[in-house]
Subunit: 230 residues, 2 copies
């Protein structure tokens, strides 16, 4: 059994705050837990905020383009871009909600590193060996609705490769690399809720075999030559 | 808190089996549970199996094309197709694993209807009012790894629309339609495991506000005019 446990009561995060410290004060962790942290508070803590003139529609556009290496599609004020990290998402992940008016939050420069830092901080403060996933809310083609996915991880496999295993009929399994980091990020979202101010959740009970060093950038982000849709 | 509970000990499913009956025998359900059932056993129970000559590589290709309305991309034996349901996925969802050699499993004709039937069957047999999601394992562009998503649902919102709400700064939230059906399907996959023969999981503790009539086809499948990538 896996439990999805929201971490309630966390205060507003500001630039310079140490997220591991705040989580350690509000959560009872156990070894093997996966701590999922939303990008929004990571970006705030890391000072990834830029001023945006709320009365100038072009200001947000400029921030979106500054954060992108390529625009894949555009419809009105919605840009589907590729970010410097290699993520393909709406508006380069530039986010005007849940930050103060006049400001926008940018994605962390390196969310894998952010995850490692939170993981190390939690180990130092609580003694617990936990994994950390930094999550963000992305859309996708062909399907309505957004889901939370992993943009950074530490201490847990991003992808579990079941290739080479056999199915229940003894037939070799092909191409069953499961992106558990994204599934865990989405699962955690179910107890966070966009508007409910719960930026952290604990996913308890994952398969201990999944706990290893990894990174979203190395395992999840497709390179261009490997991508049929870029 | 939400719990992800695998349903262990289920027997192999064969054409004509009543899935609700098998689940009712192996799971202790409670009102408000979401029962996630993998497509594979739904297809088997519904007899969605076709013979495939295992020595003829073209046989699988023909089944894939028969199930598609359009091929979006092709690389060697991998076809990214649009199915009659409007899903975009690899090989039209035609699956050679976990079925007997010489056979392939096709997607259910209408997985929303399959979900409703299982839901009604569980209510009749257990008295419990549960929601049902039929899940399948899909890839996606730009990101490595597969995740489980919903291809049918009953008794639970496919998408929860948080638009019109306000964030913690009182700012109106835009475009935060969360596809909870996909997040729940992915969460359930975490306790199933591709090779471990657990085709059903219970997701317990979801927000009761999410429990309403819905369907994947009406809420998740994008139509062409609305899709920037088709």
């Amino acid at each position: 059994m896996i439990s999805l446990i929201p971490v309630a009561g966390m205060p507003e995060i500001h630039p310079g705050d140490v997220i591991a410290e705040v989580i350690a004060r509000h959560a009872e962790l156990a070894d093997g837990d996966v701590v999922v942290v939303t990008q929004k508070i990571v970006s705030k803590a890391e000072g990834r905020l830029v001023p945006i003139d709320p009365d100038d529609p072009g200001a947000a556009t400029q921030a979106i383009l500054d954060e992108s290496v390529r625009v894949l599609r555009r419809r009105d004020q919605l840009f589907i871009t590729e970010t410097r990290h290699g993520f393909v998402c709406a508006n380069s992940g530039v986010d005007l909600s849940n930050v103060e008016r006049g400001w926008a939050a940018l994605l962390p420069l390196d969310a894998d590193r952010s995850a490692r830092r939170i993981r190390d901080g939690l180990r130092g403060r609580t003694g617990n060996d936990v994994a950390v996933i930094v999550s963000d809310t992305f859309g996708r083609p062909w399907r309505h609705g957004l889901t939370d996915v992993a943009i950074g991880c530490a201490g847990i496999a991003a992808i579990v490769d079941l290739r080479g295993g056999v199915d229940t009929n003894g037939r070799e399994l092909h191409a069953t690399e499961i992106c558990i980091a994204d599934e865990i990020a989405g699962a955690a979202e179910l107890v966070m809720g966009k508007a409910s101010s719960i930026p952290v959740a604990i996913v308890r009970g994952v398969d201990p075999k999944w706990l290893r060093e990894s990174s979203v950038r190395a395992e999840i982000v497709r390179n261009h030559t490997d991508d049929l849709f870029r």
